[in-house]
């Protein structure tokens, strides 16, 4: 290359690039959360922002004194009445937690994804001259900082125990600061050990996956051997951190230099190991992770979104086992769903296991009063329908194929709800049959709730026209009411065995009709004009 055209890559330039990128990403995240919390409403109205800010202020103002008072009472009580208990917690429980965290940092392979997430973002920065060591060390330090900040929460809760139960900032802040710094320094070598293995995955000459797994296995076994022979050894780092948190003079003299030296070794290990990184390898799959990141808080709200992205990735990788069952007309839809569950057997097992758990759960479930049934209905509707409608949800997101299946909405909902409900029922029925003698009389009457749950999950996905909808508080309330009705009628019917099932099927059928009517309304079916004029300005 002509030196005249060689890019001038300096450490300062690279650092400046990363900082600029990260600041831009931080601003984006900030805006995202502000929108999520209603502080940046789409309408742009200040009235809405102020209303939300006021609500949050009220929540904090109402909750803080209660929480502080509660914690204060607990600490005072513990430190005065049970000093021995506090001593045990500080000497053993907390160090044990730190030991578990340390081992987890080394062996959990998900840690490698953190690296990928970064590289997905900054691959465009990584034109050939960009120093891989800087990218790896930067991300490594980010993760260290993140973990130590998470560690601040238990540190803050524990600090009063080291300050004689005092909640005054002047008493607890020094302890929190020392604890946080000690934890941060300890996380560095532990994470570096893990990254030493993970970075191999992205190396230009990677070690075989088996070797990497063996490495993790050996570390786990070694920890087990140490634990068996002298468990105190594993507690030493945690105890050192507790001592540093307390500010004990002898610990400070030896502890800080020791932790700083370990941390330096961590940085050096990561820097050395990242010299042979292949950016291409590291960036593979980054789009999947970027999509997961893009979901933001929705990952917490709806786990199915996350599963659907991971499932999509797996679907493209897995072998296309089985063939489409020969079914024509409307039955082609259950055939498609059945083939999905044949190929995504992990999801099939999940549904089956949930059904099994529900069947066994009937042994212990005692709906003695109205409240128990209401709570059960709400919990079931909150947890299960989205799982039962995972395939439908994914299919609704593909309008190109949906245009080939223009049957009435009701038929599609019924056809799509069938297969997942059958899988869950297949898990639920064996406990009912085998443990029939132990089951309450009305147990068989509960079976149709699986169908209702599946239909609730499917109707939740129906939006205006071809649009897909998301669950909201109203759909959860509505679904809970529907499920409660079926459950309550099954329990209070006074009939048992097959008769309970027949009666419950009839009730579930009526509820299904109502759910389908609601789906029609959401779809705009009762008012076709609404479909294309929904966004018409007044």
């Amino acid at each position: 290359m002509n030196p005249q055209f060689a890019p001038q890559i300096t450490l300062r330039g690279m650092l400046s690039s990363i900082v600029t990128l990260r600041l831009a990403q931080f601003r984006w995240t900030l805006a995202y959360w502000s929108r999520a919390l209603g502080l940046l409403p789409a309408s742009g109205k200040w009235q809405e922002r102020i209303t939300f800010a006021y609500i949050y202020l009220l929540i904090v103002a109402l909750m803080t004194p209660t929480a502080v008072s509660l914690l204060n009472g607990l600490y005072v009580l513990e430190s005065k009445s049970s000093p021995a208990l506090v001593a045990i917690a500080l000497q053993n429980s907390l160090p044990a937690l730190i030991a578990v965290l340390s081992i987890a940092l080394i062996v959990i392979p998900w840690r490698a994804w953190m690296l990928r997430m970064t590289f997905g973002d900054i691959t465009y920065l990584a034109a050939a001259p960009f120093d891989r060591r800087l990218l790896a060390v930067w991300r490594y330090l980010e993760v260290v900082l993140f973990i130590s900040i998470i560690g601040l929460i238990p540190m803050t809760l524990l600090a009063p125990a080291l300050a004689g139960g005092s909640l005054l900032a002047i008493d607890v802040l020094p302890a929190i600061g020392r604890g946080w710094l000690a934890l941060l320094l300890w996380v560095m070598p532990m994470l570096a050990l893990g990254w030493h293995i993970s970075l191999q995955e992205y190396s230009k000459t990677p070690l075989p996956a088996l070797t990497r797994w063996l490495g993790r296995f050996v570390i786990l076994v070694a920890a087990g051997v140490v634990l068996y022979n002298n468990r105190d050894v594993l507690l030493w780092p945690g105890r050192l951190i507790v001592l540093l948190m307390r500010g004990d003079a002898p610990a400070i003299l030896i502890g800080w230099p020791l932790l700083i030296a370990f941390a330096a070794v961590g940085v050096i290990v990561v820097a050395l190991e990242s010299r042979g990184l292949s950016m291409t390898r590291a960036a593979v799959g980054a789009d999947v992770l970027a999509r997961i990141q893009g979901l933001g808080y929705m990952v917490l709200v709806d786990r199915q979104l996350l599963l659907s992205i991971l499932g999509e990735k797996r679907a493209s990788e897995s072998y296309a086992a089985g063939v489409l069952p020969k079914a024509t007309g409307l039955l082609a839809i259950p055939a498609r769903t059945a083939l999905f569950y044949r190929r995504q057997y992990g999801q099939t097992i999940q549904l089956f296991a949930v059904g099994l758990a529900m069947g066994i759960g009937l042994l212990a479930w005692r709906p003695d009063n109205f409240i128990v049934v209401v709570v059960t209905a709400v919990l079931l509707v909150a947890l299960l329908p989205s799982q039962l409608a995972a395939v439908f949800r994914s299919d609704m997101g593909v309008p190109f194929i949906s245009q080939f299946i223009p049957q009435p909405l009701r038929s599609r909902l019924l056809a799509s709800s069938l297969v997942p409900a059958l899988i869950m029922l297949a898990g639920m029925i064996p406990p009912l049959v085998s443990l029939n003698a132990l089951m309450p009389d009305w147990a068989w009457g509960v079976l149709p709730i699986v169908w209702v749950l599946s239909l609730i999950g499917h109707t939740d996905q129906v939006g205006k026209g071809t649009l897909r909808s998301d669950r909201n508080i109203f759909s959860v309330i509505l679904g809970s009411a529907a499920l409660f009705f079926v459950l309550w009628s099954a329990i209070t019917s006074g009939v048992g065995g097959p008769l309970a099932l027949v009666q419950s099927v009839a009730v579930a059928g009526s509820v299904s009709l109502i759910l389908l009517m609601i789906a029609d309304i959401r779809h705009g079916g009762t008012n076709p004009q609404a479909l294309n004029t929904a966004k018409q300005p007044a």
Partner: protein, 304 residues
């Protein structure tokens, strides 16, 4: 689409030569039957189907994103057997118009009728006659290309689904990868699979968004060839959008030009040439340039 088996016919990527009347005679007849302006110009290589009654009518289509109106009351008619190219620069509103016509995007104002069924009043009937192929179609999870064709074909109770699917996949060069998941396909392969699905069910109207953008030249020829078959045998109508005007020229009956969400003209290649007094050798790109210049001169505000 004819249900030939893969062994019974030979696919040629090259366009067929006309065997009936001369192209000009066909165009005159088609124009007379369809009662459209006398500007129809027959492509020299395609055997034109008889252009029939209107299958897609749009009037006053308006669409707004936020506070920006991207379609300013578009009127458009597509006749059976006709192939129309929707032309315009990036951001002209071509894809938005296609999506509104297909019912994928709700319009703010306007009316769309497909084969006599209103998209707003009788959505299912209207959509049953129409297939829209976006520039990058997506597919169902955990279904291979072959499964997709079988599922759609069986859902529509088509006779001999498998030979037809085999014919289409082979013609489009996807036969060898029929048992792979579409998510592993390139963009061009996805487009071809989408086209196969669209042609399988014999719709009255096919809307194609940027059909040549993802295809190699040979695949593009196969695309034109399959569309020729579709139009000749089933009198299907095709509306396609593209900004690659040089590539969509073969077999196009009309060019519908758009700029900034406005219709700036609609006519056959011959009609455009005569309108702007261009030489016969002029290509559609120069016609397009002349039309935009004229529109910008006459409507400076709308052209901004």
């Amino acid at each position: 689409m004819s249900k030939k088996s893969r062994q019974d016919r030979v696919i040629s990527p090259l366009p067929v030569s006309p065997t009936l009347d001369t192209p000009d005679e066909i165009a005159i007849e088609a124009t007379a039957q369809a009662n459209i302006p006398a500007m129809a110009f027959a492509d020299p290589v395609r055997v034109k189907p008889i252009i029939g009654e209107s299958v897609l009518d749009a009037s006053g289509v308006r669409k707004t994103y936020g506070s920006t109106e991207v379609l300013h009351g578009i009127d458009f008619t597509l006749y059976a057997g006709e192939r129309v190219a929707l032309i315009g620069p990036n951001g002209a509103g071509k894809s938005t118009l296609l999506q509104c016509l297909a019912g994928w995007l709700p319009m703010d104002k306007g009316e769309v009728t497909v084969c006599g069924a209103s998209l707003t009043q009788d959505e299912q009937k209207a959509r049953a006659s129409l297939v829209m192929l976006p520039d990058t179609p997506n597919f169902y999870q955990s279904l291979t290309a072959w499964d997709h064709l079988l599922m759609v074909g069986r859902f529509h109770d088509l006779v001999d689904v498998e030979p037809a699917a085999e014919y289409l996949l082979d013609a489009l060069g996807l036969w060898q990868v029929r048992k792979s998941y579409p998510s592993t396909y390139s963009r061009g392969m996805k487009y071809k699979l989408g086209l196969a699905l669209g042609l399988l069910i014999n719709p009255k109207v096919i809307l194609l968004d940027e059909p040549t953008a993802a295809l190699d030249p040979l695949s593009a020829r196969v695309l034109w060839r399959l569309l020729d078959e579709f139009q000749a045998e089933d009198q299907g109508a095709v509306l396609l959008s593209s900004h690659q005007v040089e590539l969509v020229t073969p077999g196009i009956d009309r060019f519908f030009l758009m700029l900034n969400g406005n219709k700036i003209g609609d006519g056959s290649p011959r009609g455009w040439i005569e309108r702007y007094h261009l030489p016969d050798s002029a290509n559609i790109a120069s016609v397009f340039t002349a039309a935009i210049e004229e529109f910008t001169r006459l409507h400076p505000d709308a052209a901004q």
